[in-house]
């Protein structure tokens, strides 16, 4: 299994946080774009994110079309789909539901080092108020702290366990 490091760029982080904050009363999701770092095989650079939906997350047609178009667009920049982010509808819900797991599994088939980010709604709510600089998410049901390049926050790193195994 080994240790994998994910570098989340500021652009990607901001987009996914803004998407979640815009639709406070709904579950939202989106994909993460990036690539394996050319310098280091154990690092995945998440360069960008694309917010997807804020309603009917479990319906297939919209997802299929979006993924086709996203892949086409980003392959021109040398990036592929490397992960998925999700924020739950309820404030204190920290469980990854079956829809998120299914999408994560699907992405994992094409990119084995896929990351699934679940946003922590409590931290999301506190974001505009506090000085808390810790990232508002946990990765795949195991607390992982991600090194946010350009964001000026680096936190200690733990190994990621693949939740679907």
């Amino acid at each position: 299994m080994g240790e994998l490091k994910y570098e989340l760029s500021q652009n990607a982080y901001i987009k996914l946080v803004l998407h979640a904050r815009k639709h406070k009363t709904a579950a939202v999701n989106g994909v993460l774009l990036g690539r394996v770092s050319p310098q280091n095989d154990a690092v995945v650079e998440i360069a960008d994110s694309v917010p997807l939906f804020h309603s009917h997350l479990g319906l297939l047609p919209n997802l299929e079309i979006s993924l086709i178009m996203i892949e086409e667009h980003y392959s021109a920049q040398g990036l592929g789909i490397v992960g998925y982010f999700h924020a739950n509808e309820r404030f204190d819900d920290l469980e990854l539901d079956s829809i998120a797991k299914n999408i994560g599994n699907h992405i994992c088939r094409y990119f084995p080092q896929c990351a699934v980010l679940l946003l922590d709604n409590k931290k999301l709510e506190a974001l505009p108020k506090g000085k808390d600089r810790s990232p508002v998410m946990q990765v795949s049901a195991v607390f992982v702290c991600i090194e946010l390049s350009n964001y000026g926050v680096s936190v200690s790193f733990l190994a990621i366990k693949r939740f679907w195994l």
Partner: protein, 301 residues
């Protein structure tokens, strides 16, 4: 469900009020009529009216509905003190009122005191067993606790009595979709299409669920409903056009080995693709290349 014209009108009013152009009362009335959820705006502009005694008296008897609207918005924004104050004012004016009792129940919900809220609603329901709002609040409690089986059970019971409540059918369908219970969601949309066959939204949602269920027959049926959605919207619905392309590609894939006895007319897909390209050329020309390559990959996959 809000039409596009209503939405543009709402946004225009919202911009106007936000930038100090007045019209707060019209905005609040429109929000109430369309039943949209804009708690932060309602709270801000509602309070600006309520805290000003001149504006308050100008409203006359409507001021009480405003108190109700603002209290619900306050609870939505978790400003429970504001909500409590509004409810107190209403209690003084209408003691023993069931409507105010309902608001108190919602306040308990907002505080997260589910058991107390449940008790409050049950006692209110004893006196009015046919109040739809109380039934729906009970469903909301179950949903807020993440207790989906209970929410579904309550909602189904509610729909046995109030079969014509379209919003409830939609809510049930959405809960089913979020739990990936697509067959049951399809049933809900079927009920909606039966009662309101000219609303394209239901055709679209039904087609989406059928496509998600998968299987050749479901996808063939989905294609028909995408086509009817296009028909009902005069060809303007992008999702339905994409749906046709997806269905055609999926059917082609699924029936690859079989005989082409009932080959669906390929014109529908090429027409849908052409309509999409025209639409993109008009509205998003920068993304046209992306669209064409996506459509191509759908045709060949």
């Amino acid at each position: 469900m809000v039409t596009k014209t209503e939405e543009t009108q709402l946004n225009r009013l919202e911009n106007q009020v936000d930038n100090g152009g007045g019209g707060a009362w019209e905005y609040l009335c429109l929000v109430k009529k369309l039943k949209v959820r804009r708690p932060d705006k309602v709270l801000r502009h509602g309070l600006s009216i309520l805290n000003d005694p001149k504006k308050r008296s100008a409203l006359g008897p409507d001021v009480w509905t405003l108190y109700e609207q603002v209290s619900i918005a306050a609870m939505d924004c978790q400003c429970l003190d504001v909500a409590k104050d509004c409810i107190k004012v209403l209690q003084k004016q209408f003691p023993e009122s069931k409507r105010v009792g309902r608001l108190e129940g919602i306040l308990l919900e907002a505080k997260g005191l589910w058991a107390e809220a449940e008790k409050a609603y049950s006692s209110l329901l004893e006196d009015n067993p046919l109040d739809p709002v109380l039934h729906k609040r009970r469903v909301a409690i179950a949903k807020a606790q993440g207790n989906f089986p209970t929410a579904i059970e309550w909602l189904n019971k509610y729909l046995e009595t109030f079969m014509a409540d379209h919003d409830a059918w939609r809510e049930l369908a959405e809960i089913y979709v979020s739990l990936q219970m697509y067959k049951q969601a399809a049933f809900c949309y079927e009920e909606l299409i039966l009662s309101q066959p000219t609303v394209p939204l239901y055709h679209l949602a039904y087609a989406d669920v059928l496509y998600t269920l998968g299987g050749v027959e479901n996808i063939l049926l989905a294609k028909k409903y995408y086509a009817s959605a296009i028909d009902l919207t005069g060809g303007k619905n992008t999702k339905a056009l994409f749906g046709i392309c997806l269905c055609s590609s999926a059917i082609a894939q699924l029936t690859k080995g079989r005989n082409k006895e009932d080959k669906e007319s390929p014109e529908l897909q090429s027409l849908a693709a052409a309509a999409l390209e025209k639409d993109y050329k008009q509205r998003a020309p920068a993304k046209l290349l992306l669209l064409t390559s996506a459509l191509k990959s759908l045709k060949t996959s």
